[in-house]
Symmetry: C2
């Protein structure tokens, strides 16, 4: 994690707890905090001391604060900037080292989209060679509901799942550990102010309902997925764990990194009017791997969020276009972020092309899919000439062996 | 709703609130209650008076009580039976009329299965004529995650959704009100004691994790579904609303209606060992419709839950077989309950065979799909020679026009 992830122009929100046995630097309860350079500012303590007037920051998760909307987050970042600049809150600045970073919010519902046309084309060409990109793709922001209960904080080990798979279409399926465990590099949009059931969010207002972004690892068991996913979509192939990064980078911090130079190719249809938008974000995303043999991780891929076919505003508008209600803290993930270059592919399935082109590692090891002991480290950051770099920190998870089945 | 739904052998759990302006018969706060014949026993009041020793019944939803597991529910039903038999709690018996029945629990995650082979075959033959029942069906209990935030209590009006549809594969899709709105008659299993992430529930213990059953209407926009569902499953076609009945009928009340005489036909494969179970439930399910022209509803269909291909224990065991964690109050719906007889089909899509065989109503009206003003009323009950009948009450919802798009 780069120290430069958290300049004063970032000020992301998270929830921190003291590790057991650690000196009493952090509160034993979960406290809402922000990250600043290599330190953490305890916002809960600032409220208690009267430096900040916002009771929602006394809660153990960010949901209530998120629900106050984008203006409230903007005003709070301005106040925190004052405190950090003046030194008035210096007593509540704590070292980042040793902090236990918890899930920032209680996720009521988790939706996973499929917004990268490059990812959809890659995966489609493996699973349906004669029918890679389905006819609806360029019209409908495809998404499905994921599992909220198994969303875990970065650093939580992930157990390889058991499940049904069938390699031989003439034999019965078997039940046992997945042999094709994968990661997916995604960004997650966390909802701020929600919408009542039955009242869609217009695309022009959609970004006002997004509190901020985080990194999401949508762990996937490809062999389970292949056998189960028709006709109702992925289920047990995905819902054993989803990791999220601890700091929610606000939309205001990301604002300078918006871009519209992206996505649609010549001949692609104009989006239907309820989806009219072209506001992308220039966010670099990286996947790193540390096998049990490595001391330092190696980078497997580097892509960019601006390469998505559908924008964040389009995803929010589409999701609510039928009246579906979003609640503060709900998580909308982008789907795997892949570009056109081979080294921009955001899953091992794509990098090793379904196992046919194993990835070679500096240790001499190869990977078709993840092995037990592998640690996956996802990073994301924004860089632009003349602006301070801002980052998301990391989303980490190490693969543990499957339980006895 | 039949008075005989709630004999003393039923004692389902629900949450009740006084309607605004009503005499102070019910508490203004949400109170956990049970239904007894044509009355409601206020369990919250019983705890406050010291007649029942269970602080979890003071909460506004059943989740904490559900999480105490099946033994706790069993003991509570025994205590309530004593109170009702002795008359000791008669002061807290209130009339059913005028009670506002709320959502009994806060649903963290909602899963919808597809456990009726007759429904899967019917729908499959419409959407994929040459490939009706997919090869995985008889091995994998197919399911997907639904939307928890849009689960509504029985009686809540349901707005027809807008969405993308495409009738003509040579023309762009259009956005507007769904023209193929449907209901689905399902039963829902509500989780009692959960399981930790990474620790599957063995099939033999699965029913101990189920608190009880309710009725579920999985409203579905078939035209939106057809266009959006590949490759990741239904999304906006389903997540605009899901209605649930107010009373959770406990597993102990249903115990006398278990049956194993059902489901698998000759030649069907034995389930894999982790799914070994054949404990069905004999529960009659009925769909009634009241159009705006009718004073009384008419019955559209009558099916039975024993006709499902997968059992409740199999659904729970499969769901957790990869380590996925279930939490108290989570909802697992069965999927549409259809049998082999035409009048046992649990959706209008099937009854009117995708609009090709319109359903004729006594008023002279016909229905291919639901029209604005139609009220759908789902009922379920158990009958067996020598036992008191027990019922689920009703799950109602009236269709409102789509909002301006």
């Amino acid at each position: 994690m780069a120290v430069t992830d958290f300049p004063i122009t970032n000020l992301p929100f998270g929830v921190v707890r003291r590790r057991a046995g650690q000196a009493r630097t952090y509160a034993a309860q979960a406290h809402i905090c922000t990250a600043f350079e290599d330190r953490i500012l305890d916002l809960h303590a600032c409220v208690e001391e009267g430096l900040i007037d916002e009771p929602a920051l006394l809660e153990p998760v960010l949901n209530t604060f998120m629900g106050k909307g984008r203006e409230a987050a903007r005003a709070m970042r301005a106040r925190i900037t004052e405190l950090l600049t003046s030194g008035a809150a210096d007593a509540h600045l704590l070292p980042m080292d040793g902090a236990e970073l918890l899930l920032p919010m209680r996720v009521g519902d988790y939706t996973d989209f499929y917004a990268s046309i490059h990812h959809a084309t890659n995966v489609g060409s493996m699973f349906r060679p004669d029918n890679a990109l389905l006819p609806n793709y360029k019209w409908v922001p495809i998404g499905y509901h994921g599992r909220a209960s198994s969303i875990v904080a970065s650093g939580t080990p992930v157990r390889r799942p058991n499940g049904q798979t069938r390699d031989d279409s003439n034999a019965p399926p078997v039940f046992g550990p997945s042999k094709r465990l994968d990661y997916e590099m995604e960004l997650g949009m966390v909802i701020g102010a929600g919408n009542p059931l039955g009242e869609p969010i217009p695309v022009a207002e959609a970004l006002d309902h997004v509190f901020g972004f985080c990194i999401v690892n949508d762990w996937s068991a490809r062999d389970i997925q292949t056998w189960e996913y028709q006709p109702l979509g992925p289920f047990l192939a995905k819902n054993f764990a989803t990791s999220v990064s601890p700091w929610i980078v606000t939309l205001d911090a990301l604002e300078p990194f918006r871009t519209s130079a992206f996505r649609r190719a010549e001949g692609d249809p104009e989006p239907l009017p309820y989806l009219a938008d072209d506001a992308g974000f220039d966010i670099t995303v990286e996947v790193w791997l540390r096998t049990a043999q490595m001391t330092e991780p190696v980078r497997l891929s580097r892509g960019n969020f601006r390469d998505m076919y559908w924008t964040v505003a389009q995803l929010v508008a589409h999701h609510t276009s039928n009246g579906c209600n979003l609640l503060p803290g709900d998580l909308l993930a982008s789907g795997t972020i892949s570009g056109t270059a081979k080294d921009s592919r955001g899953s091992l399935l794509e990098l090793a092309w379904r196992g046919t082109e194993p990835v070679e590692l500096p240790t001499g090891e190869t990977r078709r899919f993840l092995q037990d002991g592998d640690e996956v480290i996802l990073r994301a950051y924004c860089e632009r000439e003349g602006l301070p770099r801002i980052g998301f920190g990391e989303c980490r998870g190490v693969v543990m062996p499957a339980p006895q089945s």
